[in-house]
């Protein structure tokens, strides 16, 4: 959560003499809140000066333009002439003059442009008299359209000379605004006082703030206190209210506007600004009600903190109406809701120009309730943002007193009631004990006890040392939501001591004995093999869309669905990588007619725990590692795909794989797919994709794919390699070509040959021919046969006999003929 903080202003809360903003940013970031950006404020108003209009003349060539003679100080000999169209321009006016080189935004919109010398309708203009929105001050000084900024009206209390830089006049010259990131647990540091406390401890500088108190309120007139009733003190642990009468509302003075603006807030009116100002100072959001607009109870104003009733509505300050429900905590008067607790105020009770009597609220609300309400109604505010992080009940008296103090200053009036304070129970500060030895052990460096104690004290902990090394620390109220254990005290000491002062030490020790995940090592090996074989690795999303799945002929209904998908492209967890690979092939096909892709990723099966149909996903899915490949290489793609898988199995040490024609119809091409089995387990499906599916993806070429369930594949993988000494007897080779029916499969032929004799040690396919010279429906299969014996040199007669026997077998089994 980021907040904007004026460095200049911060110096009122902590003595930062001699600390530059750069140094502040650097040192704070290493121990606490991070200053992410630094914006110099005055820079924007560079070359914009205060001018005094000494004379006005008619523009000879334009009705709506006039020539203003403006005194811009000693740098120019005499008043300069500026062409101006401002409707409120008059003699003796104090104006903002942008000189040549200044940056302005024409009519407050568009980009900032650098002002250059100009001649307008034939008249020279040495600069520009600005409207507030042309120099980025619209929020601070609202005025009518076509008017110019009248500094005499805007800053009645400021006396300047012509030529004074406007930034000086506004007190902005030396200021910078820091954009500070405060972590969500440290909402206490999201304000001037909290940040000053941090800075004081981290930089070792004096903390200058002391809270306002309420003594004047106690002695105030004996009017009845505001009646406050809380229906659920878990949702509202504390509520304080005080009434101030006889106030005058109106625009805030410049100093207030400026402080709000530097924090990124708009000025509304004095009373509203006061509540925001207190929030910026103390991180405690406040609210102010116009007493006159509240429905009174028997004894005067009543405030009920309760859950909304059925059908209650509220018109909120953002001009929207919200229907409330019984989960929404509201602030109500005697009859109706006047605010959504901690989130946003209601229009009906809002303060306005005529407000004379107000009730200030300072309260604490349950963070979860505020957060849920904001989410439910989709309303977000500075107040809600702070409440939902968790605020201390003990901030309230300070906030209320400060608001009253500022009101009496800016709006006059008097305190008209004793403050009301309703709370759930007595406050008890948490306290934790740690030992200095423990702190040293956890941080890994010895920090003297006095230093440890000093750091905690600087941060506001009440510390007592017990025994030889026990530190007992009472948590200050502003830290009661984030300091939850002794471990937190260690963190406080470590960060202020400085992480940069802790030496880096690499842990040593014995190797650990965790379960080894073999899959990871094999997966890595597989990637290396695939890359070596010329495949390119893809990474696609684990979730996919109905569209892609249906195009591939898969049924999405069996998949685990995402309840809150980002788009229709990501609706369920995939059970196969193949559809996304087809999609990738399709998207690349126009540029790449030749593609070889692979992906290794988990797929998500129902698993054994989710087998009962209709009962939903009771258990986590089975996350199975899978490899998918796609080959867009032409007619022989299936052969490349299969060759790659054979190569992969070889590299993984998997031998004796049996390949069987894939009978499954659907995704695969009915005549061109095959499956690999090892010990009866499926370890790969390979082949061409069905032409219908390929065309669903608008792919023009043939695509061959591979699908390997890697858990099964890896279960057979081995890194062990066996060595058999080569035979000392020479081997014999013979080529054999047989003509068989085209539907006879090579694998069967090879197996038949091999079974003929154990001395036939290898059958190697090298060609299949079909066509001219062969009868229709026949093919010729050509093979190299290797014969070898471990015991002797085979004689030609032996080899011939074996070959003959093999051919005989083929004749019997397949009606084969020698070619």
């Amino acid at each position: 959560m980021n907040s904007l903080v004026s460095f200049d202003r911060l110096k009122h809360y902590v003595n930062l003499k001699g600390v530059t903003v750069e140094e502040f940013a650097r040192r704070m970031a290493l121990s606490g809140p991070a200053v992410e950006k630094i914006h110099p404020v005055g820079e924007m108003l560079n070359r914009v000066v205060v001018g005094h209009v000494t004379d006005i003349r008619k523009h000879p060539n334009a009705d709506k333009l006039r020539l203003a003679m403006v005194d811009v100080g000693a740098t120019h000999a005499s008043p300069v002439q500026i062409v101006c169209g401002g409707s409120n321009l008059k003699k003796d006016q104090w104006v903002a003059v942008a000189q040549v080189g200044a940056k302005v935004r024409w009519h407050g919109v568009g980009d900032w442009v650098k002002l250059t010398p100009a001649t307008i309708r034939g008249e020279k203009s040495e600069g520009m008299i600005c409207a507030a929105n042309e120099i980025g001050l619209a929020d601070a000084f609202p005025h009518a359209e076509r008017e110019i900024l009248d500094l005499g009206v805007a800053l009645p209390d400021i006396k300047v000379k012509p030529g004074t830089p406007l930034a000086d006049a506004l007190g902005l010259t030396d200021d910078v605004v820091m954009d500070i990131e405060v972590t969500s647990n440290r909402v206490d540091a999201m304000c001037m006082v909290g940040l000053a406390r941090e800075a004081s401890a981290i930089l070792g500088k004096k903390f200058l703030w002391s809270g306002a108190t309420l003594p004047r309120l106690v002695r105030a007139q004996r009017a009845t206190p505001v009646q406050v009733k809380i229906s659920d003190r878990r949702l509202c642990p504390r509520y304080m209210a005080v009434r101030v009468s006889g106030v005058t509302n109106g625009p805030s003075p410049w100093w207030m506007k400026r402080r709000l603006a530097s924090a990124g807030l708009n000025s509304i009116s004095r009373l509203v600004d006061i509540t925001n100002y207190v929030m910026l100072e103390l991180a405690q959001p406040m609210h102010v009600f116009d007493t006159a607009k509240l429905r009174m109870g028997d004894k005067g104003p009543e405030i009920h903190v309760r859950l909304a009733r059925p059908r209650e509505k509220i018109q909120a300050l953002n001009n929207k109406e919200y229907a409330l429900d019984d989960k929404t905590l509201v602030i109500a008067d005697a009859e109706k809701p006047v605010a959504i607790a901690g989130v946003i105020g209601g229009e009906r009770s809002a303060v306005g120009e005529k407000t004379e009597d107000v009730i200030f609220e300072a309260a604490t609300f349950d963070p979860v309730s505020v957060r849920r309400t904001a989410r439910r109604l989709n309303v977000y505010s500075d107040s809600q943002l702070r409440f939902e992080k968790g605020l201390s009940t003990e901030a309230l008296p300070f906030a209320l007193a400060r608001a009253v103090e500022l009101t009496l200053d800016l709006c006059g009036g008097h305190v008209a009631s004793a403050p009301t304070d309703v709370r759930a129970g007595k406050y008890k500060a948490a306290a934790y004990s740690i030992t200095t030895a423990d702190v040293d052990r956890k941080i890994g460096v010895e920090i003297p006890k006095s230093k440890q104690v000093g750091i905690l004290r600087d941060l506001g902990f009440k510390v007592s040392v017990r025994g030889r090394g026990t530190i007992h620390a009472v948590v200050p109220w502003w830290r009661d939501h984030d300091v939850e254990s002794g471990q937190d005290l260690v963190e406080e000491i470590a960060r202020v001591y400085g992480y940069a002062n802790i030496p880096p030490i690499l842990p040593v020790g014995q190797p650990v004995r965790h379960r080894r995940n073999e899959e990871l090592a094999w997966e890595d090996r597989l990637r290396t093999v695939a890359k070596g074989a010329g495949l390119a690795e893809t990474y696609s999303y684990s979730f996919t869309s109905d569209d892609v799945y249906r195009k591939a002929g898969y049924d999405p209904s069996v998949c685990l669905h995402v309840q809150n998908p980002l788009t229709a492209d990501f609706t369920f967890m995939r059970t196969t990588l193949l559809p996304s690979l087809l999609q990738i092939v399709a998207e690349n096909e126009e540029r790449y007619r030749n593609q070889k892709l692979f992906e290794v990723a988990k797929v998500y099966y129902p698993g054994t725990g989710n087998r009962e149909p209709g009962t939903g996903w009771k258990e986590l899915p089975d996350e199975a590692l899978e490899m998918g490949c796609a080959f867009l290489v032409g007619e022989e793609g299936w052969r490349e795909a299969k060759g790659f898988v054979e190569h992969l199995f070889h590299e993984l040490g998997i031998e004796d794989v049996s390949w069987r024609r894939n009978a499954e119809v659907g995704f695969w091409h009915p005549g061109r797919s095959v499956q690999a089995f090892k010990d009866g387990k499926l370890i790969a499906s390979v082949g061409e994709v069905s032409p219908a599916i390929v065309s669903n993806f608008k792919i023009t070429g043939r695509v061959a794919m591979v699908d390997c369930p890697l858990k099964e594949v890896f279960s057979f993988a081995t890194a062990t390699r066996r060595y058999a000494p080569p035979s000392i007897f020479p081997e014999s080779k013979r080529d054999l070509a047989v003509v068989v029916d085209a539907r006879v499969e090579y694998d069967d032929i090879a197996r038949t040959i091999r079974r003929t004799d154990s001395l036939i040690v290898n059958v190697e396919w090298f060609d299949t021919y079909q066509g001219r010279g062969l009868p229709e429906g026949k093919k010729s299969v050509a093979m190299h046969l290797t014969f070898a014996s471990p015991e002797r040199t085979l004689k030609t007669e032996d080899v011939d006999a074996m070959l003959e026997k093999a051919v005989l077998g083929l004749k019997e089994k397949f009606k084969a003929e020698i070619r």
């Binding site: 290493l30 121990s31 991070a34 992410e36 969500s184 979860v368 052990r441 956890k442 941080i443 890994g444 984030d482 254990s485 471990q487 260690v490 963190e491 470590a494 992480y499 940069a500 802790i502 030496p503 880096p504 030490i505 842990p507 190797p511 650990v512 965790h514 379960r515 995940n517 990637r527 070596g532 074989a533 010329g534 690795e537 893809t538 990474y539 696609s540 999303y541 684990s542 979730f543 685990l560 669905h561 995402v562 309840q563 809150n564 998908p565 980002l566 990501f570 967890m573 990738i584 998207e587 690349n588 070889k596 892709l597 988990k602 998500y604 939903g616 996903w617 009771k618 986590l620 996350e623």
Partner: protein
Amino acid sequence: MVSEKLSALKDEMLKAVEAASSLADLEAAEIRFLGRKGELTAVLRSLGDLPESERRELGRMANEVKMEGERRIAAARERLSASAASSVADSERVDVTEPGTRPPEGHLHLVTHAIREITAIFERIGFVRTREPEVEWDWYAFESLNMPPDHPARDEWETFFMDAPVHPKWGKMILTPHATSGTARILASEKPPIRAINIAKTYRRQIDVTHVPMFHQFDGVYVDKDVSLAHLIGVLDYFAKEYFGPERRARLRPHHFRFTEPSFEFDISCGVCNGTGLGPDRQKCRTCKRGWLELGGAGMLHPNVLKAAGLDPKKFSGLAFGWGVERSAVMKSGVQLDDLRVLYKNDMRFLGQF
């Protein structure tokens, strides 16, 4: 008669050998005279028909001619070979600037490269890589990490929920928004000393130029007796220097995570501006924030997290760290990824560059 024939043959032979201008010519001459069917060989064979008295003298003579021929041929061969060797520069010249025949060229994804490198770095200091579920129970992703239901910290992760009934014990089924859920599983299943690193796909409901709904994170954990902050700083410093290079600096900034205490954000000095925060034009560096790049989160395991895993926080302490793989890769390699979504588009023009 025969002797004259021999001497004529010798002259002819030596002339032919001298005349040979190439190894091929020489070979032809050798075959013509000394080959199996050569002219000199024929003479030698015919000697058998001569009477004993002539045979011996002529035999000696013929042998001398043969030896002389062999000697001359050997000398000529040496001479011609040398000149042939010196001329292959021209005769066998090829255009070597033509490209070579490459083996097939495959590619591994940028993320794989990064995961390999990160894994190797941590394996060197004894961390074991593990693999944990990506579809996970709320318990491991949030509850056991000290993030009770309704804690605002949960909002920081835009979580995907699965269309599955809420488990009575483990809560909702979700997609892991961070790899720390894997750490929670490791803590629950292993006994100290634990040194593990979980690298996994993680999911968040965001997609724009700087966010993708699926990305990769690694999350390391080390639990033992007396694990200290100094160890955490040591491990992070080691990683920074190993992965990014010895000239890069690391710093820790206090941060807030529910599962660690203290918690940090881990920054690396910017490699573009060298940590100065200023670009080449002396304007603000566009890559970093004031000289530093945010890399990831780290911290000492919260006692509640150890307790949730059944470990005694009085006996053991631990450190944990984790961040995005893609982010690390991009920050390191200077890959100009203006749009992170490119990583998962699988355009060959992208894939082919790694």
